[in-house]
């Protein structure tokens, strides 16, 4: 039976007149990777900071391991490893010293600290630069060391705020692997992101946030299927033949976006062959034709009418 680790019910947080978190409810099960997906300003960071006892909330209920952060903040904080967007390491200390400092904050014995430094550095691949000062590390190394510092006390819950923002695709993939590793070691991971691929790739469940509210919550493939709509066939033809192509394809559900004709199709592979044959028979030169499965971006657009990259006003 799945065990509930985090329970949030009717959570509300204001900053003055602005409602940063608006009646948010969700649960996170033990051992899952739970994603908060939304644009900048959607309330993800505030929500995470509340869970980490960094902020108080105005209304609602939060339980972490059955502890109320307002009443048992020490127990809650001991069970959480928080890794924010920014690197919280001391530049003039080396990585080992930074990890030892983090361990001291959780009162780990020196023996335990040594074990945990070894473990965290192995799992997150920081062994080769353990003795280098943080100021000498690359951005990717710093992030890995930062993540290692946040799990040094062996927390059951790891909260990651935009863990891969600003990374190039290779390092991003490497980081996703590290996060999956955490799950393999039995950690429950709550991460925020505005990267739909990231959420899709590594999260077991995703809560889509917009303007402080959760607008949808489920497994990524279910969200895409139920909200994202049918797959689309993307067709690009020469500009001069676009009108002709549209008239040939008038029996399909079409739309034009970014100089491409998008055709909704229940059976995309069959429809793609049909479309391609029809256009070819009418001598319309196809520059590109491909099937696009609905993404979490499509889900977000359908739910909010905006793109994920647009900031909340």
């Amino acid at each position: 039976m799945e065990k509930m680790i985090i329970e949030v019910v009717g959570l509300v947080k204001h900053y003055g007149e602005v409602k940063a978190v608006d009646d948010v409810s969700f649960t996170v099960q033990e051992g899952e990777i739970f994603g908060l997906l939304g644009p900048n300003g959607a309330g993800k960071t505030t929500l995470m900071e509340i869970l980490c006892c960094l902020r108080r909330f105005d209304r609602g209920r939060v339980m972490i391991h059955s502890f109320d952060p307002n009443k048992n903040s020490l127990q809650v904080r001991a069970s959480i490893g928080f890794c924010p967007q920014e690197t919280l390491l001391y530049d003039l200390l080396n990585v080992r010293e930074n990890l030892a400092f983090s361990a001291s904050l959780y009162s780990l014995s020196s023996k335990k600290c040594k074990e945990r430094v070894e473990f965290a550095s192995k799992v997150l691949g920081v062994e080769e630069f353990l003795n280098r000062r943080v100021e000498q590390l690359s951005g990717g190394m710093k992030r890995r060391a930062n993540l290692a510092a946040s799990i040094i006390h062996d927390p059951s819950i790891v909260i990651l705020d935009e863990p891969t923002v600003g990374f190039d695709p290779n390092i991003k993939r490497e980081f996703w692997e590290l996060i999956r590793n955490l799950k393999n070691y039995g950690k429950t991971v709550l991460l925020s992101t505005h990267d739909m691929y990231e959420a899709d790739e590594i999260c077991d469940r995703v809560a889509i946030m917009d303007k402080g509210k959760i607008v949808a919550l489920d497994k990524p493939h279910i969200l895409k299927k139920t909200i994202g709509g049918e797959p689309l066939i993307h067709v690009r033809v020469k500009n001069s033949q676009a009108k002709k192509a549209l008239s040939i394809l008038k029996e399909y559900k079409t739309s034009v976006r970014d100089n491409e004709i998008h055709i909704s199709a229940e059976n995309p592979w069959e429809t793609m062959t049909e479309v391609s044959n029809k256009l070819a028979s009418q001598e319309v030169l196809i520059e590109k034709i491909e099937i696009g499965e609905p993404t979490l971006e499509d889900v977000f657009v359908k739910l909010t009418g905006r793109k994920l990259t647009e900031e909340v006003a």
Binding site: C53, S73, L74, L88, Y90
Partner: protein, 366 residues
């Protein structure tokens, strides 16, 4: 050229947007000027407590006491017994004791009277000012009241207690050693929290299951370490370079250095909890430390201050640390003599840490 102006413009704009920094930048010269005006802009730039033992008890001695009172530079405490007066002198509550002996009035009429002035010599500046002031008073007093042509009918027999051989070096070194207690400790600890906040690393500490008091004590230990370095370096250099003839009673100096530093550090941590930007906190700490040094008697006697400022000085913990250092090094004070200053420093440190914890918690819970 454009780049130079661009950099300057950006810095000036940033400065004006950090309101706390602007405040302290203006507050610093204003406070210094007001202090100098209040201290040195007076007609009588000095006020010391002295004890008077009136053993004669005649109208003429009453008139002497009224006359001394009217000088404006002395605050008198009247005693009937010498022992009581000397106790106060020992406790530095009075800086000198003037004894008007039996038969003073009678001898004065006969043209030759003696008075005894026992001065606390541990602060040569104060001692000199009191001595000169009392002697001048008696010369003028006799001229005005009795005989303008008769000079020096009243002989002031002066005796110095504590630090009879105090020179300028001996006078300045205890004050110098108060410097790290006030400046180093405050400046170091002011940076402690505000730096973590600016860098973002405070978040890491706040997420961990540690209590605010642990955080403040951790910061205190580090600041104490740095302050100790300043104290040791300054003590060694002062001893080697100046060679003052002082009582370096280390077992007694250590608790005073420790308690004084704790007070300075606690004050710095409070500023650190209030300041939003490092620049603001640094300006605040510098201004407060510079202003406080006037009240503590570190560099010049507290008697130079107007009475209301002296009273303010007596509620500043560092005044007790400065006085205790002087007492140990010049007056050869014993542990018992230091009980009151030590208790005061402990109490003030507890209060300041209490305030620090409240401010830190309030900030954390925002």
């Amino acid at each position: 050229m454009n780049s130079i102006i661009g950099i300057a413009k950006k810095d000036i704009k940033t400065f004006f947007r950090e309101r706390g920094t602007v405040f302290w930048t203006i507050a610093f010269p204003v406070m210094i000027l007001l202090l100098f005006t209040a201290i040195f802009g007076r007609e009588i730039p000095f006020n010391a407590n002295i004890g008077i033992v009136d053993e004669d008890g005649q109208p003429i001695t009453q008139s002497v006491i009224s006359g001394l009172n009217a000088t404006g530079f002395l605050t008198l405490k009247i005693f009937t017994e010498r022992t009581e007066a000397f106790k106060e002198l020992n406790a530095t509550n009075v800086r000198a004791v003037l004894i008007l002996p039996q038969n003073f009035s009678q001898n004065l009429y006969l043209g030759h009277a003696n008075v005894s002035l026992i001065v606390d010599g541990s602060n040569p500046d104060t001692a000199r000012l009191i001595s000169d002031g009392v002697k001048t008073f008696f010369t003028n007093y006799y001229k005005e009241i009795f005989n303008p042509n008769y000079t020096e009918p009243i002989n002031v027999k002066e005796e110095k207690v504590f630090g009879q051989e105090i020179g300028y070096k001996e006078n300045i070194v205890p004050g110098m050693l108060t410097y790290p207690l006030l400046f180093s400790s405050m400046v170091v600890s002011t940076g402690a929290i505000v730096y973590e906040r600016e860098k973002g690393t405070l978040k890491k500490i706040r997420v961990a299951p540690i209590r605010p008091i642990n955080m403040l004590f951790g910061k205190t230990l580090a600041a104490l370490f740095q302050t100790t370095i300043s104290i040791i370096v300054m003590s060694v250099l002062a001893a080697v370079l100046l060679g003052p003839k002082l009582n370096w009673n280390v077992p007694l100096l250590i608790p005073i250095f420790f308690l004084g530093s704790m007070n300075g550090i606690a004050l710095g941590l409070i500023i650190s909890c209030i300041g939003r930007a490092p620049q603001e906190a640094s300006n605040a700490a510098t201004t407060i430390a510079v202003v406080l040094q006037f009240f503590t008697g570190m560099y010049f006697p507290i008697e130079y201050l107007p009475i209301y400022m002296q009273q303010f000085g007596r509620i500043i913990p560092m005044t007790y640390a400065a006085q205790a250092l002087r007492d140990i090094m010049i007056r050869n004070a014993t542990f018992t003599d230091l009980l009151i200053p030590m208790a005061t420093l402990v109490l003030s440190a507890v209060i300041l840490y209490g305030i620090g914890v409240l401010l830190y918690k309030r900030w954390v819970e925002k």
